[in-house]
Symmetry: C2
Subunit: 374 residues, 2 copies
């Protein structure tokens, strides 16, 4: 029971994925434009639910690696991840049957669309993060023990770097990041490779349709002049943590990551309070001036424009913006003890912060398990 | 008309390759020990002259990449380059027929012996540098247009990184160096791949037998209490530039390279004069206090112990050593206009120094073209 990502769905996806990027994950706008161009030229982007993937399918996850700041300045070519995928097929001597999104938040939400449009392969309605994270070992595929290699990187020159016989995703992350920096800061990747069985054991289901529905709901609420924030939360679950004005942004590039802090002064009901959000590409922790933790990774901390719910990414956030801070509970797969070791507060340097889950259910407004058309 | 590298030849090779390393290239001692162990266990290291390689041979160059300083602290495993070679064979779906040394100076002189001992493949009597250089694009294989990829790196964990569709060796150098650093500072490599025709067009002939004969001549001269320096120069060609005492060594690790300067105060006939030698892994330029250039890259500037002609590498040179500075003319292939653009003074940051060849002929004491037994 597949469905198709058309132009309208791409518009919605870009907005929804921007919010689920929790400030990072790169800008989905360029990928949307590329995918749209292919769709206009007649390409078909087919989506299937995870349950429809045969056990013996040969699935590959595709995306882009690199600093979001660099990506805005020099858009990726549309075919870098395709080249990586084709190189990996040549290396394996086998052809892939399905594409698995690695990261539904940010630009990596649209990369599989671009690859699907060029290759005709179906995209699975799901991903390995349910949001955005900065590193490969933070995918559920890795957390659940899928072997990280063989895998491939390619860049806009068509250079190919293949990785093999590497057992842990953290090592692959280091190697691939080092090559990406040498490639000029941006590359397309194809890894990990999974069987259908492995995919179904590990993928976070329904996140592609969730992102599309989230974007569609926001667009509809804007048109009807309804409360866009409430409409968005009606899809994702979670709650509004804070509303205010950005009064300070610290930002620096370090080791290929954008790191920094956004400070927001409360408005309306939050008048008189201040919240600071630390980010490393993605927003990691939101704390009040007196140290109360409003939300912490892996839960989603999303900055959106207070009027339009347009996502505000860490590379574009600036003084004076009026924003709402949304707290969205992470998917259940990210809240297990095993997962928290890799993507909990301590993994990001907040060893003194205990993870306490936000109330609510991720993607509460949707049937996540069947990959139904959004 | 091949010949065999036996235990005695390995001893000689380590000394000769140490001198041809011109201060860098890593220490051939550990490779010698590994190769010797295999020989003692019955392995046979066969050498063939370049002319004996069929046009349709599938040749691969093997060696180790990494900082010499790291190599001394943590010896490479004997099988890293073998793993890289085997990974490349799997990737190509073809098997190699011959091994080509990439660099006769330093530790990369013995890596092909270790690989030959484990695989049974013959080693070609020649290399791509005729000395040691810090980077891949400085091989005659690259200078003569051999495609740098496909190629492979492997480390002591057995991790494999393959490179493909990269057209220039400088780019491969950057990618491979970045991965090597992430691999812990040392890796074995297998690249470039060449046909027999390409090999014969590009290899510097007879350098393996030259290094062995150089080491053998020095050992014999020591035994007979003859002038070891004169004996060494009788094999390599070139002349003694300076004799003195090391009075200062500046050394730092930068970007994976050992960089610095050695200052030597003259003794005997050179009393009252001072010479400074800049190095980046290898010795690059020898200049007197008043700026006269005694020798400059690509000519070989070799520090040896004044009494024994034992090579003194940049990582081991220290205050108080009495050394002779030898100037050995570079092989003709390194002195062409094309080659000088890649390995002349300007390529190493000495844009104001014009290359003027040392008088004499490299390897003057030997028939270099036939790969005869040394």
């Amino acid at each position: 029971m597949g469905w198709v990502v058309d132009e309208e769905a791409l518009e919605r996806l870009a907005i929804g994925a921007g919010i689920l990027g929790t400030g990072g994950g790169g800008n989905p706008y360029l990928g949307k434009l590329m995918a749209r161009q292919f769709v206009r030229e007649g390409a078909r982007i087919a989506v299937v639910g995870a349950e429809e993937v045969p056990d013996d399918a040969l699935v590959v996850s595709v995306g882009g690696m690199g600093s979001p700041t660099v990506s805005v300045e020099r858009p990726r070519r549309a075919d870098e991840s395709v080249r990586a995928m084709r190189a990996l097929e040549r290396h394996l001597g086998r052809q892939f049957t399905h594409l698995a999104p690695s990261e539904i938040g940010g630009s990596n939400s649209t990369v599989p669309m671009v690859v699907a449009a060029q290759t005709g392969l179906p995209v699975i309605d799901g991903d390995g993060m349910g949001r955005a994270f900065p590193e490969l070992q933070m995918e559920t595929y890795a957390i659940d023990g899928v072997r990280p290699t063989p895998g491939a990187l390619s860049n806009h020159h068509g250079h190919v770097v293949l990785f093999d016989r590497i057992d842990d995703a953290t090592t692959l992350e280091r190697y691939a990041r080092a090559v990406t920096i040498q490639m000029g800061g941006a590359a397309g990747y194809a890894f990990p490779v999974m069987s259908g069985t492995e995919l179904k054991r590990s993928v976070i289901r329904g996140t592609l349709s969730l992102a599309i529905r989230l974007g569609g709901t926001i667009l509809a609420a804007r048109e009807r002049h309804e409360d866009v924030i409430a409409a968005a939360l009606g899809v994702t679950g979670g709650r509004r943590l804070f509303t205010g004005k950005v009064v300070d942004v610290e930002r620096r590039l370090l080791g290929g990551f954008a790191r920094g802090k956004v400070t927001i002064e409360g408005l309306g009901a939050d008048e008189g309070r201040t919240v600071a959000i630390d980010f490393q590409n993605e927003n990691l922790i939101a704390r009040t001036a007196d140290g109360e933790v409003l939300a912490v990774v892996p839960d989603l901390i999303c900055l959106v424009d207070a009027e339009t719910a347009e996502p505000v990414t860490t590379e574009l956030v600036r003084y004076g913006l009026r924003v709402a801070v949304l707290g969205i509970p992470a998917p259940a797969a990210l809240r297990t003890e095993t997962a928290l070791r890799v993507i909990g507060p301590a993994a990001f340097g907040y060893g003194d912060v205990e993870y306490r889950a936000l109330p609510g259910v991720y993607g509460k407004g949707q049937p996540t398990s069947r990959g139904a058309r959004p």
